[in-house]
């Protein structure tokens, strides 16, 4: 989750839960041949989060209010959430030993502030209100209004409306999202294939057990009825 830009720190991490990407775009159509595009990145709080689906001990949870939250008491540190996240968001505390108890860290959309009836801190403190907070339906409607009213300012793409089945963070941009380091993603949740496999696992195991037991039975039966048939081919 970085771009080859001047941005510092290098990427999101356990210590950096949000970060503004600086992307320098070059094109003759821009004044001075270049322009800067800034985009604040953090956890996308997916509607079908890979981390929630992937975590073996269910440490991640998608709350009704939107935030994807993490239960530090459950985590075993396998880091499958980091492998599965399509946005590369969760960070691990690499510098902590056994006694310091390393954990996964990421943006939690200030779930505690939301519980107290407040906005997330990033929304509260953004002077030009580049980040706003609200119901997802209403935000999508606002985004569509803005695109319709300013077709020269915004491209016609709300990032997060459909990406990986939709996210709770929504973006408007003046340039295509690929140009500013947003991954190009399909509209299918990334959890579809793994969850389909997991649903079939127990029935498969049961059927396989029966097949193996039956095979054993048939082989034994043949051996008993035909004790001379010693020679078998692999």
């Amino acid at each position: 989750m970085t771009s080859d830009s001047w941005t510092n720190p290098f990427r999101l991490s356990a210590r950096t839960w949000t970060r503004v990407d600086f992307t320098e775009l070059q094109s003759p159509q821009y004044k001075a041949g270049m322009k800067w595009v800034f985009a604040r990145r953090q956890c996308m709080h997916c509607l079908h989060p890979a981390c929630v689906s992937a975590c073996p001990v269910g440490a991640f949870r998608k709350t009704d209010e939107g935030p994807v939250v993490y239960d530090a008491q459950k985590c075993i540190g396998c880091r499958y959430c980091m492998v599965s996240c399509p946005f590369g968001v969760p960070g691990f505390e690499w510098d902590k030993g056994l006694l310091a108890q390393p954990l996964i860290k990421k943006c939690k959309m200030c779930v505690d502030r939301l519980g107290a009836g407040m906005e997330p801190a990033c929304v509260k403190h953004c002077p030009p209100r580049a980040t706003i907070f609200g119901e997802r339906d209403e935000l999508l409607a606002t985004a569509k209004e803005r695109i319709a009213a300013n077709p020269d300012t915004y491209i016609n793409h709300i990032y997060g409306e459909n990406e990986v089945g939709g996210t709770s963070m929504l973006y408007l941009s003046s340039v295509p999202f690929e140009q500013i380091g947003f991954p190009k993603l399909g509209s299918e949740a990334v959890t579809v294939n793994t969850e389909a496999v997991m649903e079939k696992t127990l029935p498969f195991a049961a059927a396989w057990t029966v097949i193996l037991a039956a095979t054993y039975g048939v082989v034994k039966f043949r051996e008993r009825t035909n004790p001379q048939g010693e020679e078998k081919n692999q």
Binding site: S53, A54, D95, G186, V190
Partner: protein, 380 residues
């Protein structure tokens, strides 16, 4: 394992020195990891949360341990009694493989002291949940399959007869758990939809992992038998070993057809000829690890010659190792441009674990009846 020297004692002491150095280095690195954190001994980072230990110790280790369940299934379920002399070394290799993978996992997990959370906190949607349970249960099964060796050694007849009564159910449960486990290691990467290269990402990943694990099983049995014959000056069972590898061309042939059929159906054929480094890796993996062994092992002259049998088995192993590294590490894109090459101390952990495995195998071979053919099948 280099026993070129005629006088065997200096060779052995040289090997032992290496083994002990590797084990001590691995142990000290582990201590450092628990004091200062994973970052202090590895090049793992937020873009590469999994590295050498997952790709090699876990994914390769478990795949190469597959010889245990395939041999047990072949002997007890399919009734190929003649392969029984190969069974105990295969079980021991598999058991050690799993124990060593768990050991490496103890280093790789951020919170190994919480591994028991897998038992009380369930997430049945998670492939890692299945992987965790399979590791726990199948290691137990392998322990039960291994138990007759120490029991026989110490002449404990009663527990031995109890275990023998349950041989068949134990073997069947072991095959089922192995099937789930080998395939679930492939399923892990289904979720990496947008970053795993299209030549490796496929809905058939679980089947591919299972098929290649079954195919590599006999190859590992061959190489293990070869090393044992060199180290312990034992007879190399060429007759039996040349027969078990006959199954490899069939399995790898099916795998090859499915792998390419899948690429055709998914419309990914053009990706095969893009000339990128990953495409090259794909072709190396397929030609060296799949096509060459299919061709070589379908020839009796290759199977029945000790040198070519061992060398071709090594090709199968290299192919599977390369496949696991490609799927879990190399072919996963990191859009932020981060790079990773294992730290020297990461190798210390992996080599230390292997050295430990060789040491325990040596102990078992020295003190346990691992090359004796038990007569338990006739008793069930």
């Amino acid at each position: 394992m280099n026993s070129e020297n005629k006088t065997s004692s200096p060779t052995i002491s040289f090997s032992w020195t290496i083994l002990i150095i590797l084990m001590v280095a691995g142990f000290l690195t582990t201590v450092a990891r628990f004091i200062w954190g994973i970052g202090s001994i590895s090049n793992l980072n937020d873009s590469y949360p999994w590295g050498l230990w997952i790709s090699f110790d876990l994914l390769c280790g478990i795949a190469l341990a597959a010889g245990a369940f395939t041999t047990a299934g072949g002997v007890y379920i399919l009734g190929f009694d003649k392969f029984k002399p190969l069974l105990r070394p295969a079980i021991l290799t598999g058991f050690l493989g799993y124990l060593l993978a768990i050991l490496a996992l103890g280093v790789d997990l951020g919170r190994p002291e919480r591994i028991w959370h897998l038992i009380i906190y369930w997430n049945p949607h998670s492939v890692m949940f299945e992987v965790g349970w399979c590791v726990m249960l199948y290691t137990t099964i392998l322990a039960l399959e291994f138990l007759p060796m120490p029991l026989e050694r110490f002449g404990l007849k009663k527990p031995l007869s109890i275990i023998h009564k349950f041989t068949i159910p134990i073997v069947i449960v072991g095959v089922v758990l192995s099937t789930l486990h080998q395939s679930s290691l492939g399923s892990l990467f289904l979720i990496v939809v947008n970053r795993l290269h299209p030549l490796w990402h496929s809905k058939l990943l679980p089947l591919f992992f299972f098929l290649t694990a079954v195919a590599v099983g006999p190859a590992v049995v061959v190489v293990e038998a070869y090393l044992s014959s060199r180290i312990f000056k034992r007879h190399f069972e060429l007759d039996l070993l040349s027969r078990i590898v006959k199954v490899i061309p069939m399995l790898l042939g099916l795998y090859l057809v499915l792998r390419f059929g899948d690429l055709v159906i998914a419309g990914k054929l053009r990706t095969l000829f893009t000339g990128s480094l990953l495409t090259l890796l794909f072709w190396i993996e397929i030609l060296i690890g799949v096509v060459a062994p299919i061709y070589l092992f379908s020839k009796a002259s290759v199977r029945e010659n000790q040198t070519s049998l061992v060398k071709t088995s090594l090709l199968v192993i290299i192919g599977v190792v390369l496949n696991r590294f490609n799927v879990s590490l190399i072919a996963i894109a990191r859009p932020d441009g981060a790079t990773y090459f294992p730290h020297l101390l990461e190798f210390c952990i992996s080599f230390g674990v292997i050295a430990g495995g060789i040491f325990v195998f040596w102990l078992a071979a020295r003190f346990l009846p691992i090359w004796e053919v038990s007569d338990d099948a006739s008793k069930v």
